[in-house]
Symmetry: C2
Subunit: 234 residues, 2 copies
């Protein structure tokens, strides 16, 4: 085997490991969002504590992936699509870390609601939006795994729907708070949970945008490109 082939094969392995770790982290935060919402709905403080504490593993994976990405750039000097992949991972890993933070936030609120007693409203909406944004996240990770920018468009459409669902749920909670002041404190916790889930949707959307950039070399953020037009025109 020539030296060139050797380097190239090591490069491919590095990239494959980077991608595998990124997907591992993605799967981890998705399961944390699911677990945190289950802890809430089942009034399961113990599960909430498990999810809260598990966020440390997410943070460690973030550091590892960042290190790997920097190492690849420094040692392998990737260009074109490979470089875009590494840079996209550096950006997307921050989104995954924040999804992990949102899951942790939900878990902590689930713990206190398990102690105080459930909130009187909003759990159905929480479950619905949680399923929605988890689906978006899975699709975004799948788009990344298959280097397929097409699903990214539908993720952006979904994000608009999640925003609407969030607004509707928040309005309904607000009305309920006005009806009975005894509901305010617990309903506020549910409000923060809804907000955290809406943010998870935003981060899934960021990941989708980065997959497009990675594959197409086109930065679709903030621009009326063909991608954005497809979304707006839907």
């Amino acid at each position: 085997m020539s030296q060139g082939e050797h380097i190239s094969s090591g490069f491919d392995e590095d990239l494959a490991e980077l991608k595998a770790n990124f997907l591992k982290m993605g799967g981890m935060v998705e399961s944390h969002v699911a677990g945190a919402v289950t802890a809430l709905v089942d009034n399961d403080g113990h599960l909430g504590e498990k999810i809260r504490d598990a966020d440390k593993q997410v943070d460690q994976l973030e550091l590892l992936i960042d290190e790997e990405a920097t190492h690849i750039i420094a040692r392998r000097q990737p260009t074109a699509r490979d470089l875009r992949l590494v840079i996209a991972v550096i950006k997307m890993v921050a989104d995954l870390e924040r999804i992990g933070d949102e899951a942790k936030k939900i878990a902590k609120l689930a713990i206190s609601l398990a102690e105080e007693g459930k909130a009187p409203r909003g759990y159905v909406e929480v479950q619905h939006i949680a399923n929605h944004v988890r689906g978006m996240l899975r699709d975004a990770l799948d788009a990344f795994a298959r280097l397929d920018p097409e699903p990214a468009i539908s993720i952006m459409k979904e994000d608009k729907r999640v925003d609407e669902e969030y607004k509707t749920a928040a309005r309904s909670l607000l009305t309920f708070m006005m009806e009975d002041t005894r509901n305010i404190s617990k309903c506020m916790s549910v409000m923060w949970i809804l907000r955290a889930l809406e943010r998870v949707g935003d981060h899934a959307c960021n990941i989708a945008e980065n997959v497009i950039y990675m594959v197409e070399g086109e930065d679709v953020r903030h621009k009326p490109t063909k991608w954005a037009e497809q979304v707006v025109g839907s």
Copy 2:
């Protein structure tokens, strides 16, 4: 002039431009946070609209800086501290963009509160926390400009104080909402504004962490390093 010097000089110019644009974007989002809070406190819907619309410039700068950073990595193949600087900029620019988003969010709430009539409480707390997080952001940008990791430690300490201030203000608003249900809707807007400002503090803290990484080559996120110990031990 030799070819080597020419390339090196171009490299330095590229890095200098990258840094200048980053600082320009930082100054821009700091002024947007200030403007959005002024719009709120002065009940100035027109200023609110100006700030809301000005976020487009922030987004454009983000795209430009990302492009410059990618270009430098691809063409100049920086190593060691130079590479860390470019990677840190790629990460920090996402924080600045999100600070811009928070300012836009505050501006939009300021516009609706200017229409509905001011909220009965919370403006003093908003101003206080806004000044606090703007100071943190300025210090973080300054640490970046001077490549000085020392101020980063105090920024992390400040972030803990902002979190406490935020919690106190949120608790007090919650109590006020419970006292009179007619306050709920407007007080919720102030609650979202406080939350947005608290997030600005978090982003300033992220920038500070990246400055440390950039200068020291040490990733202080999520780790009990000497930096974190200095913070915890304070």
